[in-house]
Amino acid sequence: MAWKQRRSGKPPLEAAWAYHRPMVWLIGLTIAVSLLAGGSCAAASVPHLKSPVVKIDTGSTAWMMASTALVMFMIPGLALFYAGMVRKKNVLATMMHSYSALVLVILQWILFGYMLGFGTDHGGLIGWNPADILLIGVNPHHAVSQSGHYIPETVFCMFQAMFAMITPAVIAGSIVERMKFSSFLLFVLLWTTFVYDPLVHWVWGGGWLNQLHVADFAGGTVVEIASGVGGLMLSLLIGRRNGYPNQVLQPSSLALTLLGAGILWFGWYGFNAGSAGAADGLAGIAFINTTVAAAAAGFAWNMAEYVHHQRMSTLGLASGIVAGLVAITPACGFVAIWASPIIGILAGVVCYLAVQVKAKLGYDDSLDAFGVHGVGGFLGMLLTGIFAVAAVNGVRGMLQGNIHQFLIQLLAAVSTVAFVAIGTLAIGWIVKVTIGLRVPEVVEVEGLDLGIHGETGWDIGALPESAIVSPAES
C-alpha cells in the first residue's frame, strides 16, 4: 500500500525559522542551511495550504506509535530467533547484528535515508530533497495521512525507519558465525542507502512501481524479498562456515529461538496492521489475516516435517510461523479472511521445501533468510495478485478476473530480485576487496563473541566466575 504523504498544519515561515534558527546558529553554516531549510519549507508547504488546519486523529496516532514500537521490538525478537540457532560461541555477535542494524540505520534514516525514500520523486527512481537532511524539513506539526486519518509525520517517519532497519537485520541471518563486524556495519550502511532506499521509493515513495499500483501492503518486496535475496547473495560472496555442511552446527538454544519467534509474531502486528496507517477497518483485516496466516503456516510446516521424517519440531513450528508472517506481509491488506489460511499453508510448505533445497545445493545461507524471507516474500507477492479482492482495499486480483494485477506483482517481485541481487553483489564485492568480509579462521574457531567483541554470551554452567578472571589493568 503506497503511503501518500500530505503535509499540513504547516506553520508560517517565521515559525519555521524560529524552529530552525538554533541549529543554524549552532553549526555555523548559517546561510547555506537557512536558505535550504527556509526555501524548501516554503516550497513544500504550498500544495498543502489547501488544508492548513488538519486535526490529528489520536486513535490512529496511538496505533501508529504502538506499531512503530512493536516493529522496533522485533529487533530483540529477531536477535533471539537467530542467536538461538547459532553455536554458543557466536551468540552475542549474532545478536549484535540485529542491534547494530537498528542503531546504524536509524541514524542513516534521519540523516538522508528518509529523504531518499520519501522525498520529492525524481524520475520514479529516487527521492531527493536536500532540505530534509537531518529531517530539517520535518516540522513536528506536520501531519500525513493514507486513508483520511491524519497522524504526525514524525510518527510516519519513525514507522518507516523501523522497516528500513529490520531489513538488513534479517540479511544477517545468512552470514552469521563468520562475518567481520566492521564489514557488516559498512555493508549495512551502503546497502540501506543504495538498495533499500531506492526500493522503498519505488514501491511506497511514489516511484515507478508505486505508479504502476503494485499491491504490497507491508513490504513483501521492500523488506522480505530484499532481505532474502540480499542474504543469499552475501552468503555466496562470503562462503560457507568452517565445517559446513560436513559438521552440523548445534544450535545453542532453541528455547530462545522460540521466544524470539513469539516476539516476532507480536511485533509483526505493528508491521502489518500498522501498515494501514490508521486504526481502522483495514488495520483490522490486516490484523486478522496476519494472525491466521501465521497459524496456518506454522501448522503446515510441522505437517511437512511430519510427512518428511515423522517429527514435529519446535524449530519447525517457529520457522513456519515466520514463513507465514512473511508471505502474508504483502497480502494482508488486500485479501479476504478466507484467503489467509491458504496463503499460510502454501507458505509453510513451500518455504519448508525451499530450505531443503539449500542442503542439496550446498550454499550456506546459514539461518535461511533466503529460504524463508526471499521465497516467502516472492510467494506472498504472487498470491496477493491472485487473491486480492476489491471489497477489502479496492484491488482486484486474478480470482476476480484481473490478470493485470498479477502481472504487476510478478514484475515487482522479479524487478526486486534483480535489483537487489545486483546491488548486493556490487556492495558486497566492494566491501570484500576493501576491508574484507570474513574473520580470520582462528576467530571463527574460537568464536566471534570472544574474537571480535571480547565477551562471552553465557557463563551459567561452568566454573566459579571469580576464579576464571583477574583484572588485566587497574
Partner: protein
C-alpha cells in the same frame, strides 16, 4: 586405597547413590561427561536436516575407598546402574575403572592415607 571411577547412565545416579549408602559408602564426587561406546546415539533435526549425535550424556563417579570397600562398592554400582527390567543390564549402562591411589589427603585437617577417605 583405590579410586573407583564409574561412567553410568544419568538417570541411574539416584539408584547408585542409594546402593552405595547401603554399603556405607558415603562420599563421592560426580561430574557431567559424554560417552561414546557401543550404544548408538540419537538423531536431531534442524529445519529438516537430520544430524546424528553420537556422544551421549553420562555421569562420571569418582569414589576413593579402602581395599575392604572395593568389592562392595563395585557391586553396589553394578546393582544400581543396571537399567533393564528386573536388574538386567543394557548396552550403555557404563563401565567401572579401578585405579590405585598412592595417597589421600583430607584438606581440612591434613589427615593422610586410609584415614582420610
Amino acid at each position: 586405597m583405590k579410586l573407583i571411577v564409574a561412567i553410568i547412565q544419568p538417570f541411574r545416579l539416584e539408584a547408585v547413590k542409594q546402593a552405595l549408602t547401603a554399603v556405607e559408602v558415603f562420599r563421592l564426587t560426580v561430574s557431567d561427561v559424554q560417552g561414546y561406546g557401543r550404544q548408538k546415539g540419537h538423531t536431531e533435526y534442524f529445519r529438516g536436516q537430520a544430524m546424528h549425535v553420537n556422544l551421549i550424556r553420562k555421569v562420571r563417579l569418582e569414589i576413593a575407598v579402602n581395599e575392604a570397600f572395593v568389592q562392595p562398592t563395585i557391586e553396589a554400582i553394578k546393582s544400581g546402574a543396571r537399567s533393564g527390567h528386573g536388574g538386567k543390564g543394557q548396552v550403555g549402562d557404563g563401565k567401572i575403572f579401578v585405579i590405585s591411589l598412592d595417597n589421600i589427603i583430607r584438606i581440612s585437617d591434613g589427615t593422610e592415607g586410609s584415614d582420610a577417605i
